[in-house]
């Protein structure tokens, strides 16, 4: 059995980079890994998901109801994907969310935080003030690394492998900033 991680967000937020860090960490530890993600039409500001299966030797797809954890960079996307979580799994999500442009264009009622949380129901959720922590780390662009840090305690990977994977994967100039974001996320994820 693999440890399955679903990473969701909006095109441009860095779900792919986050999954690359996890994949790299698996290679560092010599663990087989499979991943899948959306490209092409699915980019451009739409809902995106990356699937990472740590210890998996077969296919890259996670079945609904079986993900060990969900890492979400947007609360609305966490609600959209929460059915992927297995019983007893945990969702780590950014507290903030972006309202889709279609809501404004088509006068669709905009959901609020309470409604989104009620859709997630009684699944275990850790909400992180990831936007603020990313800014504290130095850039909103590190939001994905904050969330990875927040979830890191639950992953079957050594912290050092994750840190090395971050250093190998993110742009050189941003390594320090991303490691700081990882630490801020880790602290925030573990106190709850």
């Amino acid at each position: 059995m693999s440890f399955d991680v679903l990473i969701v967000g909006i095109g441009g937020q860095g779900t792919v980079l986050t999954s690359n860090i996890l994949g790299e960490a698996c290679v560092i530890e010599g663990i087989p890994v499979r991943g899948a993600e959306a490209h092409g039409m699915a980019q451009r500001g739409g809902s995106v998901e990356s699937q990472i299966r740590i210890g998996q030797e077969y296919g890259p797809l996670i079945a609904p109801g079986t993900a060990d954890i969900i890492i979400s960079l947007d609360l609305m996307e966490a609600a959209r994907a929460c059915h992927y979580l297995k019983e007893g799994g945990r969702i780590f999500t950014c507290r903030e969310y972006v309202t889709p442009t279609t809501v404004f264009m088509q006068d669709f009622p905009a959901p609020d935080e309470q409604m989104l949380l009620s859709l997630i129901g009684d699944r275990k959720v850790t909400e992180i003030d990831a936007k603020k922590l990313a800014e504290d780390a130095g850039s909103i662009l590190t939001l994905n690394t904050v969330m990875l840090g927040a979830a890191s305690g639950c992953l079957p990977l050594k912290e050092q492998s994750l840190r090395d994977a971050i250093s190998r994967t993110v742009p050189k100039k941003t390594i320090e900033m991303n490691l700081k974001a990882f630490d801020l996320g880790k602290t925030a994820g573990s106190v709850q």
Binding site: P32, H39, G40, A42, Q43, G45, Y58, G59, T102, V103
Partner: protein, 589 residues
């Protein structure tokens, strides 16, 4: 050998390097594009890479390379093979010299495609071998070894990964890169390369005579293999084979098809050792057809029995469901869960500052009751703005427009087509429309790049896939030489001017061409163009939603009033839309 975490298309590209590929051509198309993008981005590349203007052009050049003795490949998405199908169907007759791999990436579930066609059928149609990988590692190995297979049978090899191979990732064993020392040399042989009727009849016979040996060889090479584990069995291929391995009980046999054509004797032998067979494959029942032919009295389940769908992509939980329904055993069952309802959708959307949006907004304003054939590219997302009435295949915007006009449709017909799509297969339609005097307006959305597939250069860009600067082609001169007399080039960023040109076009008859020319906003961002951002004066805003309906992702509505977010790229189109001048450039203090 080294283990790396790699994207499917990167692993495929590496397989080419290990086979010492000499030339690589292609036309971008999801999910195939990153293969050539990986090859062209190599810092020390010593071979030729080209983004050609369309798949037929790419195919024929790659074929020529092979005829000159080089190892060559051509990449495209499945529907691109339709465009290249003309040379495909006869290249199997002429055969090849240097190994020749045709990559045609299929897209089950049509994640980013207009249909779900199955390239394996093209391989059978052309009678060439087809390799069908089930994992990233296998995709890498198949491409690496496919060149030699092509050389052994002197046939093109069709390599058919699917979206879940191209766009999945895995730890992969990569081998050493080999640099080729082959030199191109064409040896004349008219009986082979000139397919006159007399020659081609002989070539067709030779092609048919290769088939039996080919089928046997694909089993010998281990592409088609079986594992007998019980009295029931599953035959499977592609990424579905990985799902089958994940869910199937250990007491059920597996035959894995990695290559076509399938050796019927080998398959019959597998089937007849079992009481019951299920075929699990994505898209067309290619394996199932063969299985049913050779099954004798053994029951075969699959698409034709209603157990596996003909459309869409498979997944572990779906495969488990089909296996159970066919009376076979699974390792474990999957929970039945429902996605929460009631959330607003978040579809892909044109970027903030994208000039396609401005152009389409103006078209809708001027041609309120118009009919809007469109084409394939980012601008297909203009469906959200009500300016995309048709999309069927590359280049079909102009021809559908002229066809409607010739059919007698009396509404204004305004079609939209991107620069790359126009060069791909739009030009012929324009010549035809002008020559036959169709009454249509053609708007070429010219952002100077093939944006949707990841910013590949095309002849309007001024740079080749090799990174060499070349004079960009002039769309205006092409259109004029097609015979169009009304050709205007204007940027949609100036809505007043752009609207004025649309009105002129509306007042005229015949073919009117408007080139809506403005760089892609992503190109601008990469070039570090910073135009600042805009803001809404909430005291002035009357909440009319004119800017919100424009559909820019940077414009939101809060407490009934508009607000511009950090996504703003400073294009300034919204200030031209606001009826009360409530939007202005943000002044940083």
């Amino acid at each position: 050998m080294v283990v790396k975490y790699r994207f499917g298309n990167e692993a495929i590209a590496h397989g080419c390097l290990e086979a010492a590929v000499d030339t690589a051509f292609g036309y971008p198309g999801t999910p195939s594009s990153e293969i050539l993008d990986t090859l062209r981005a190599l810092p020390d590349r010593q071979f030729y890479v080209e983004w050609s203007v369309n798949e037929k052009v790419a195919f024929e050049q790659a074929l020529a390379s092979s005829w000159c003795g080089l190892r060559s490949m051509v990449t495209m998405k499945h529907v691109g093979l339709n465009v290249a199908s003309d040379p495909l169907m006869t290249s199997s007759y002429t055969g090849v010299n240097g190994g020749f791999i045709i990559v045609s990436a299929d897209d089950p579930f049509a994640h980013s495609s207009q249909n779900e066609q199955d390239s394996r059928i093209y391989a059978a149609f052309a009678r060439i071998p087809c390799l069908d990988p089930s994992s990233v590692q296998e995709a890498h190995d198949m491409v690496r070894d496919g060149f030699a297979l092509s050389e052994e049978f002197h046939l093109p090899v069709l390599f058919r990964p699917t979206t879940r191979i191209c766009h999945s990732k895995s730890d992969v064993n990569l081998g050493d890169v080999i640099v080729s020392d082959r030199k191109a040399s064409f040896e004349k042989d008219p009986r082979r390369y000139v397919t006159t009727p007399a020659h081609t009849r002989v070539l067709h016979k030779q092609l048919n005579e290769k088939q039996a040996a080919l089928k046997k060889r694909l089993v010998e090479l281990g592409y088609n293999r079986s594992e007998v584990r019980g009295k029931t069995g599953v035959i499977t291929s592609g990424v579905a084979a990985s799902y089958v391995r994940e869910v199937l009980a250990d007491s059920v046999s597996i035959a894995k098809i990695g290559a076509y054509p399938i050796d019927e004797k080998w398959l019959a032998n597998f089937i007849q050792g079992h009481d019951r067979i299920l075929v699990v494959e994505e898209l067309a029942p290619v394996i199932e057809e063969v299985a049913r032919q050779v099954a004798g009295g053994i029951p075969v389940f699959g698409k034709k029995s209603g157990h596996v769908p003909y459309e869409g992509e498979l997944s572990p939980e779906r495969v488990a469901q089909y296996v159970l329904a066919a009376g076979l055993l699974v390792k474990h069952e999957y929970p039945a869960v429902q996605q929460p309802a009631g959330l607003p959708v978040r579809p892909p959307i044109l970027c903030a500052g994208c000039m396609h949006r401005a152009a389409m907004y103006a078209i809708k304003k001027v041609f309120r009751d118009g009919i809007f054939p469109s084409d394939i590219g980012c601008y297909t997302l203009g469906i959200q703005l009500g300016v995309v009435d048709t999309t069927i295949c590359m280049g079909a915007s102009i021809t559908l427009a002229s066809g409607m006009a010739k059919a007698g449709e009396t509404h204004d017909i305004v079609c939209t087509i991107g620069d790359s799509t126009f060069l791909h297969t739009g030009i012929q339609g324009l010549i035809n429309a002008v020559y036959n005097d169709a009454n249509i307006t053609v708007v070429i959305l010219d952002n100077r790049i093939t944006a949707m597939t990841g910013h590949q250069p095309n002849p309007t860009t001024g740079i080749t896939a090799m990174g060499v600067e070349r004079p960009a082609v002039s769309l205006e001169m092409i259109c004029r030489s097609c015979g169009a007399s009304f050709v205007e080039t204007v940027s949609p960023s100036d809505l007043v001017q752009f609207t004025g040109v649309l009105k002129q076009a509306k007042a005229r008859s015949g073919v009117k061409v408007i080139i809506a020319k403005h760089p892609c906003v992503i190109t601008e961002r990469r070039a570090k163009i910073n135009r600042g951002q805009y803001m809404v004066d909430r005291d002035q805003c009357i909440g009319c939603k004119a800017c919100v309906k424009f559909g820019c992702p940077a414009i939101e509505l809060h407490s009934g009033l508009a607000q511009i977010t950090d996504l703003c790229s400073g294009c300034g189109v919204c200030i031209q839309i606001c009826p009360v001048s409530a939007i202005s450039r943000e002044v940083k203090e």
